[in-house]
């Protein structure tokens, strides 16, 4: 603290330099501003004139003050002023250990915590302490390093969606290095086994400060479905003041957009640590909810993901035999009803009435024949994803259903009559179930000996039978078979749904089997048997801040771990899938209680510090810079040079404006006002100049001979310029020109696709044929490889280029090679009887490739003189003329496309009109 202000200095001795300010004052004052030398003939009239006022001989006081303040600001800035400096306690160790809990409970305050840790690091940096940071939730090797190194790594530390394990704490206590160090423990405020032990160990090594801000932590327990209502519960570790909490139910609305489907308000009583509320939601809406979340909590613990538990399937129960009134226990549906009603919506009625409600499952208990209309509707429903579960019975056994050939709604063919074992009239014992094979949906369920089957229908041994059996008796006869039909499936229990033929419906196994078939949706009993032997794949996982992310790349988790193991890196909270079942693992589970942390006596527990020390030196130095900039203006003002400076400033400002954009715009405007031919810059000045002169010559020729009146040609830089402004680009090839970037190639391809044309000129037709026989040819191949160029052919005799303006047969430039390539005509183009040309109507060739060095033949200077000789004598002049004609044809072709080609039809049209 200095003079009561909360300001300290990192290097206070630098302030001694302020003593030098008065000396500086004297020196500066003695130096007048330098005069300007001006050439002025009128000086002859000035000779002998005396200055009346000599005040400006010395620097004006205000300028001096400005400079003095600027220099003072520099000195103060270099001295490292710090706002709110932290007093350094006596007896500080030279090492500092920062322990972060890093659990989900800290996520709500994470930015503040990080700011605080950063402040700690700054302090340690100033004090020269070595620092180690340990995130207990995400432990790494302990290493004491410079604070600055840790500061750079700090943004990578993020809260984890679990709590530290007590193992980590124990291990940390055991691996701590020798020697004294101070510790700052930023804790989440929740109880953790081993906390006190570690705190004791740390207190022995040095000063232990615990910083805790867990009072506001809220945890959301999974909602419970009871009697048509959802019970929502929220916990907090410490009771305190009364508090309202808002809970949002997120899900997809009918249009598929994620939104908040419902909000509920909970109130914590002043002395309560748990609040609850009930909400009734329609089943449709409930089924849409994907997660509950405490509004604006931002932690993984404040999110409760919902899975199948909230969804209740609609199951249609249909029995064939309703004539035995009063015998409830013999009703084929009695046991099913008992098993299903607690956790599914059961529909009963005639099949024709139930199907339009689109149930998830249809159970047919001993129904053999269906009305043809119903059967077709049922097949359609199964194929659309329905699950049909059939139970056998006397009717099925007696009917001829699926006897001679496989019925679509039966998984297997049945033998006539079925069989009966262990009855009064048969040999043998009733059969028990064989253990479920791996691959069966029932794998992992324990088979009870009490389940005995005394009668069943028997499947015909078909080739497909083995793959369709999901449960069998000990003698190998199928008990449950299944087949896929469309997107749905058909399951047949070869016994009755009541206890007539077997003890299966009486056993707990029956319910478990229904569950495994995803008939039961409520998975409230996460018992061992249900989860045994299953592997669950993460679908979406939560991070510490309560955000969902994709979990498909994470390894699967066994069912046992999923229900019972504590959360860790290998078991993240989130949604897990096993086949058709979806299970959520939340941070808090039923029965969890948030408890406040307990610390050993003598450990000081603080809240998060709010005012971090702030380094002001940057501000002082910036102020000094601003003052010095002002000094420049003021000095100019004093010496009478401000006008020039003002101009310079304006120019500077103009330069700093987004000028290139403007330049682009003006160029675009000027280049689109008239037709402008473009040539691609190669980087070789001679070639570029020649290309420019060539296009200039061509433009002049066009101007005089055609109605195309081009402007000055443009040099096009493929990387920066817009290509779309130019109807045609001339691209001379040099072996050394740079290969365009990927973006430039993308632009070129867009240009070619949208109707632009590029004239490639290898300029070597005098020495090389077309191909890779010359350096230029090879360069062209490399340059053009990424371009979207169609198949090529040598210009055919009837190409439209031969007649767009002049009638031409050759396309000479400075050289006279016939190797000029254009886009190949379609293979089906044919010569119509009596027509001079083939019927080629579509497309302007996107490229023309040749080596005749056209630009050299076209090149002319501003006065219209040809720059380079072509050929010899009059023949040469004729060749140059033909080169110009080729250029004219080319530009007309580019501008008018296949117009001249269309003329092919004129005779035919006239003929048809009867002219």
């Amino acid at each position: 603290m200095i003079f009561g202000f909360p300001i300290g200095f990192a290097a206070p001795w630098v302030l001694l330099a302020l003593v030098a300010l008065p000396i500086l004052w004297i020196i500066l004052r003695a130096i007048p501003p330098a005069p300007i030398r001006r050439r002025f003939p009128g000086v002859a009239l000035l000779l002998g004139l005396q200055d009346e006022d000599t005040v400006t001989d010395r620097t004006p006081w205000w300028l001096l003050l400005l400079r003095a303040i600027a220099i003072a600001a520099v000195i103060v800035g270099l001295a490292g002023p710090i706002l709110n400096p932290t007093e350094r306690p006596e007896g500080q160790a030279d090492r500092l250990l920062v322990i972060l809990d890093g659990s989900w409970a800290t996520a709500g305050n994470w930015p503040r915590q990080m700011a605080m840790v950063e402040g700690l690091l700054d302090e340690a940096d100033r004090a020269g302490q070595q620092v180690a940071i340990v995130n207990l939730s995400d432990p790494a090797a302990l290493a004491f390093q410079e604070a600055a190194i840790w500061k750079a790594r700090l943004p990578g530390v993020s809260p984890m969606p679990w709590q530290p394990s007590s193992d980590t704490l124990q291990r940390l206590a055991s691996v701590l290095e020798q020697g004294a160090f101070d510790t700052v423990w930023v804790a989440d405020g929740l109880a953790l086994e081993g906390r006190s032990t570690l705190a004791d160990v740390l207190s022995d090594r040095g000063v232990l400060r615990v910083i805790e801000d867990g009072a506001g932590t809220l945890g959301m327990l999974p909602p419970v479905y009871e009697d048509g209502r959802l019970l929502l519960r929220v916990q907090r570790p410490v009771a305190g003041i009364a508090r309202d909490v808002e809970i949002q139910a997120h899900g997809l609305d009918p249009s598929g957009a994620a939104r908040v489907l419902a909000t509920m308000s909970l109130t914590f009583e002043a002395d309560a640590t748990e609040a609850e509320a009930e909400i009734a939601l329609p089943a449709e809406l409930r089924a849409r909810i994907s997660r509950f979340e405490i509004a604006s909590a931002g932690t993984a613990g404040a999110v409760s993901l919902s899975d199948d538990r909230l969804q209740r399937r609609e199951i249609a129960l249909i029995a064939g035999r309703e004539d035995r009134e009063g015998l409830q226990l013999l009703s084929p549906l009695h046991y099913l009803r008992q098993a299903l009603v607690p956790n599914a919506e059961v529909l009963e009625g005639a099949l024709g009435d139930v199907l339009p409600a689109n149930p998830d499952v249809v159970v047919l208990a001993d129904v053999a024949a269906l009305a043809p209309g119903n059967e077709a509707a049922l097949i359609e429903w199964v194929e659309a994803g329905g699950l049909l579960v059939r139970f056998a019975g006397p009717k099925v056994a007696a009917s001829g259903l699926g006897r001679s050939e496989e019925h679509p709604l039966m998984p297997v063919r049945l033998r006539a009559g079925g069989r009966s074992v262990g009855g009064a009239m048969s040999w043998g014992e009733p059969k028990t179930l064989a253990p479920f094979a791996e691959g069966s949906p029932f794998f992992g369920l324990s088979v009870s000996d009490e389940v005995r089957v005394s009668a069943q229908v028997v499947a015909q041994p078909d080739p497909t039978l083995a793959s369709r059996v999901v449960a069998e008796l000990v003698d190998g006869t199928p008990l449950v078979t299944r087949k896929a039909l469309g997107q749905g499936q058909v399951v047949l229990f070869h016994v009755t749904a009541n206890a007539e033929w077997s003890g299966l419906p009486l056993s707990g196994l029956f319910v478990q089997m229904l569950d495994r078939l995803a008939i039961l949706s409520a998975t409230d009993a996460e018992d061992e048997t249900r989860m045994a032997g299953t592997i669950w794949q993460p679908v979406r996982v939560l991070d510490g801040l309560g955000r969902l992310s994709d979990g498909q790349t994470l390894p699967g988790v066994t069912g046992e771990d999923l229900t019972s193991a504590p959360l860790s890196e290998n078991l993240r909270p989130g949604l897990y899938r096993d086949d058709a079942r979806l299970l959520a693992r939340n941070v808090l589970r039923d029965g969890d209680v948030l408890e406040p942390a307990s610390w050993p006596i003598g450990v000081s527990v603080e809240g998060l510090a709010v005012t971090p020390a702030k380094d002001l030196s940057g501000w002082f130095l910036a102020a000094a810079l601003i003052l010095l900039a002002a000094d420049v203006l003021a000095s100019l003002l004093v010496s009478g040079r401000l006008w020039g400076a003002r101009v310079a400033t304006v120019v500077l400002l103009a330069a700093m404006l987004p000028q290139s954009l403007e330049a682009q715009d003006t160029r675009a405007i000027s280049d689109t006002r008239e037709v402008v031919l473009g040539h691609v810059l190669t980087g070789d000045k001679a070639v570029d100049d020649l290309a420019h002169a060539g296009l200039l010559g061509l433009s002049e020729t066009l101007y005089f001979r055609t109605s195309v009146e081009p402007d000055e040609p443009a040099a096009v830089d493929l990387e920066t310029d817009t290509l779309g402004l130019y109807p045609m680009l001339y691209w001379p090839i040099t072996p050394l020109q740079p290969t365009p970037s990927a973006e430039a190639y993308a632009k070129l391809n867009t240009y070619l696709r949208s109707g632009g044309m590029i004239l490639f000129d290898t300029r070597d037709a005098d020495v090389a044929r077309y191909g890779a026989s010359s350096p230029n040819g090879r360069k062209l191949q490399r340059l053009a490889a990424p371009l979207d160029i169609p198949g090529l052919e040598v210009v055919p005799q009837d190409h439209v280029l031969t007649r767009t303006f002049y009638l031409l047969q050759d396309f000479p430039g400075r050289y006279e090679s016939r190797d000029v390539w254009v886009e190949a005509a379609p293979a089906d183009a044919e010569l119509v009887e009596g027509m001079p040309f083939r019927n080629l109507n579509d497309g302007v060739t996107p490229v023309i490739i040749g080596g005749n060095d056209w630009a050299a033949a076209w090149a002319m200077d501003r006065r219209g003189n040809a720059l380079l000789p072509v050929g010899r004598g009059r023949a040469g002049e004729r060749q140059r003329e033909l080169a110009y004609r080729f250029g004219v044809n080319l530009v007309i072709h580019v501008l008018t496309g296949n117009y001249k080609s269309d003329q092919v039809h004129v005779p035919a049209l006239l003929d048809r009109l009867g002219q």
Binding site: P35, R38, R39, F40, P41, A44, D51, T54
Partner: protein
């Protein structure tokens, strides 16, 4: 042989400088509508002046028979007296004339040359003989003289301030002195007196830069002449402004007084203003009868 191409190159370089000045001068001269430049009395000349009755003493060869046949009297056809006058030009070529305050604007020398050459073109087209004062280019007639003048006018001189050349003045000729007249005043005085002694009349034309007219300087500065031979340091240039302008006005008064005494005319021109107005003024001043 090396010399021929070399000579040709140099000649072309030299010739390249001619057309712009000449073209500008021609262009400027074209703006002045050329009237008859006769003496407004009968005498030797090409143009018809009047018919007058024959008087005793007239030679019979002078009788215009075609006119006389129309009446009983005999007439003599008189032509207008057309005397070619000699005009001597002096254009200051010194370093001070090469000053301009505006980077893109014309220097004083440039303006002075254009004006002088345009005036020459007008005068030569009117049949006068134009030359340079001194012995370098005596007055002659004809278009070729315009080219010679153009060439002579383009030679820069190194000295800081120029003094009028009054040697070898033809008696009774006319003269035009174009300069900024910021240099030694006594030299100007001497030259004008010398010219007046030979009955040479003419125009003193002062061409100044706008900066020299307004003195828009501030702050600490060292003023130097174009050649650097004269310099003056000031700490507050703005203070000097009024006194400088006073001195400039005084110099102008002196020139005007000198002209009045010697029968010359005095005009001044600012290079920021139109050259055409200046040329018109000069042309009118040359036409004025003595």
């Amino acid at each position: 042989m090396n010399t021929a191409p070399n000579l040709r190159t140099r000649a072309e370089t030299e010739a390249a400088r001619l057309p712009p000045l000449l073209a500008r001068a021609e262009h400027l001269a074209g703006t002045v509508l050329l009237g008859e430049h006769g003496r407004r009395r009968a005498g030797l000349g090409d143009d018809f002046w009047q018919y007058r009755p024959v008087q005793p003493g007239d030679s019979r060869r002078l009788i215009d028979w075609r006119r006389s046949a129309k009446s009983d009297q005999q007439f003599i056809r008189q032509r207008e007296w057309q005397v070619a006058q000699s005009v001597m030009l002096w254009v200051d070529q010194s370093a001070s004339m090469r000053f301009t305050s505006d980077k893109d604007g014309a220097t004083k020398a440039d303006r002075a040359r254009v004006l002088a050459l345009s005036l020459s073109i007008l005068l030569i087209r009117a049949g006068e003989r134009v030359g340079l004062s001194g012995s370098s280019l005596p007055p002659r007639r004809g278009e070729a003289q315009i080219l010679r003048l153009t060439e002579m006018l383009q030679s820069d001189e190194a000295e800081d301030y120029g003094a009028p050349e009054a040697r070898a003045m033809l008696p009774h000729a006319r003269a035009v002195f174009v300069s900024d007249f910021l240099g030694d005043f006594e030299a100007v005085e001497a030259a004008l007196y010398k010219a007046a002694d030979r009955d040479v009349r003419g125009v003193v034309y002062q061409v100044l830069d706008p900066a020299e007219e307004s003195f828009p300087f501030q702050g600490r500065a060292i003023f130097e002449s174009m050649g650097g031979s004269v310099s003056h340091e000031t700490r507050k240039a703005s203070d000097l402004k009024t006194r400088y302008l006073d001195r400039l006005a005084e110099r102008r008064d002196q020139l005007q007084h000198l002209c009045r005494v010697t029968g010359w005319q005095f005009g001044h021109h600012d290079t920021a203003k139109s050259a055409q107005a200046a040329l018109l003024w000069l042309y009118r001043a040359m036409e004025r009868r003595q």
